[in-house]
Amino acid sequence: MIDFYHVTKRFDRYSIALHDVTFHADKGEFVFLTGPSGAGKSTILKLILRQLLPSEGQIVVNGRNLATLKRAQLPLFRREIGMVFQDFKLIERMTIFENLSFVMTVLGVPPRDHKKKAYAVLRAVNLHHRLNAYPPQLSGGEQQRVAIARALINDPYLIIADEPTGNLDPDLSADVMQIFIEANLRGSTVLLATHDREMIRRTGRRVVHLEKGRVGEERPQQAPEVPDSPSTFMQWGSL
């Protein structure tokens, strides 16, 4: 699903965000991306969404080589990806519902289904009562959950999330992780950048570790405390 071949990303002479990064994520896999602040996690996710182009190397996502992707194909490519941005990127002048509705319009969801779908996905992040609020009227954690809801709407092939629990308390973080895990079980590939070591440990999936723009050892999958069956996830809190 995601292939990085010797990718280097230079912003300018002084900041080299990624240095010869090679990694791979399979279809249907659930991968964590960790590393200290400034290691290059967000840069990798931005490269996958083709928000940035690599300085060197090749990136293949969902069978498409991003270097040869034409400008006109970009929208269609991006519609297959659900991304949770580190800074949320909600449209401030639209209500929560309008934010979701706009994405659904773009994705081609018939207008009559918008209300139903928006409610369902906001219900999952426990924000269904804030449908008509504007983003600046929400708390940091609430905005983050809206961003997650937007990424998950309409089941994308690939979900990439940048620090999706940075503004959430531990209980909510667990709930949110549960949502990602369920999306993964429904078939979405998930790539999740985070530095919540506790969460990584508990979820027990493959970890790609970055350090100053280089891929460190891919720590072997630790023995998961939680097995892969959905039933036991409930201990994380119910949706």
């Binding site: 929208p75 991006r78 449209i91 319009t105 081609g108 969801v109 207008p111 078939g187």
Partner: protein, 319 residues
């Protein structure tokens, strides 16, 4: 991956559904006009001022030309006779003209008729005439000539022959000062076109900048739209529509204001201070195709403004 429920539309190429998208266009464009209504008014105002300038000049020069036409008939050739030409001489000239096919459409203007016509159409010069003891106008024939005839080589020799007919004092293709009035009318048209043109460019430029600024305001939003996979057309539609609406409002406003000015001037013209310039400068309003053209010009300026700023913004962003 097996058994995964895929709810993404089977044909992602279907893109945004027409209804949803066009509804979004109109809704967005109107909302932006409303949210930034005072700024939109600047764009609308600029277009209106440009078109109003253009329209005013067209109106005045049109009426001036028409006044000259009315006074001079449609003759382009004036055959002035001696002031004391005898009826026999006049008949001779008439015969000469009748014989020549290219001069056959003519009309006789007696000294009194000329004096009356002048007084009627150039009221403001009446005091000068009043100082005179006698009618200064000679009798004349006003001949309608096609411009094709007038341009032909034999025509010059024809005029030379006409000039020496008994009783003919002078032959002029338009009186010099009437020609000057015409020239003023033409200069007015050109000044109007130039001034209106400059202002129209300024208006398009203003709209472009107003829209560029709103694009700046919406820049983050536009980036977000791009990142969630919206097509450029989806993003730009509302902006183009916004420009269209602004241009249309500007054009309608200009025509409305011009009509207001026209009515106002006519009201002044019938007032006690009477006539001076207004009388023939504001006799008729612009014909409606010209009015429509003004509105269309506004719409074009609006669309052009949007288009320019959109083109620019797409060059700026890396996508």
């Amino acid at each position: 991956m097996a058994g995964a429920r895929r709810r993404r539309d089977a044909t992602p190429d279907a893109g945004e559904r027409p209804l949803g998208v066009y509804g979004y266009f109109v809704h967005e464009a109107l909302r932006r006009l409303w949210v930034y209504r005072r700024t939109s008014m600047v764009a609308v105002g600029m277009i209106a001022i440009a078109l109003l300038t253009l329209g005013t000049f067209l109106l005045i020069s049109g009426n001036l030309n028409r006044a000259v036409d009315r006074w001079q008939g449609r003759s382009q050739l004036s055959v002035f006779l001696d002031r004391d030409a005898t009826p026999a001489q006049i008949a001779g000239v008439r015969e000469f003209l009748t014989r020549e096919p290219s001069l056959a459409k003519f009309e006789f203007v007696s000294r009194e008729a000329a004096y009356e016509k002048f007084k009627r159409h150039f009221a403001q010069l009446a005091p000068v005439l009043a100082e005179l003891e006698q009618n200064p106008f000679p009798p004349s024939f006003e001949v309608q000539v096609t411009s094709r005839d007038a341009a032909s080589a034999p025509f010059t020799t024809l005029l030379a022959r006409l000039r020496v007919v008994d009783g003919v004092d002078d032959v002029q293709l338009d009186w010099e000062w009437v020609a000057r009035l015409r020239r003023i009318a033409n200069v007015l048209s050109i000044v109007g076109l130039v001034a209106g043109g400059i202002l129209a460019v300024a208006a398009a430029f203003t709209i472009a900048n107003v829209i560029r600024l709103t694009m700046f305001l919406y820049r983050e939003e536009i980036d977000i739209m791009r990142l969630v996979g919206a097509k450029e057309t989806t993003i730009r539609g509302p902006f183009l529509l916004e420009g269209f609406f602004q241009g249309m409002c500007g054009g309608l406003l200009a025509v409305g204001m011009l009509y207001g000015i026209f009515r106002g001037a006519r009201a002044l013209a019938t007032g006690p201070s009477s006539a001076l310039l207004w009388d023939f400068l504001f006799s008729e309003f612009l014909p409606w195709p010209t009015s429509l053209a003004l509105v269309a010009g506004g719409i074009l300026a609006g669309l052009f403004g949007s288009w320019i700023s959109l083109r620019e913004s797409s060059e700026e962003s890396a996508g």
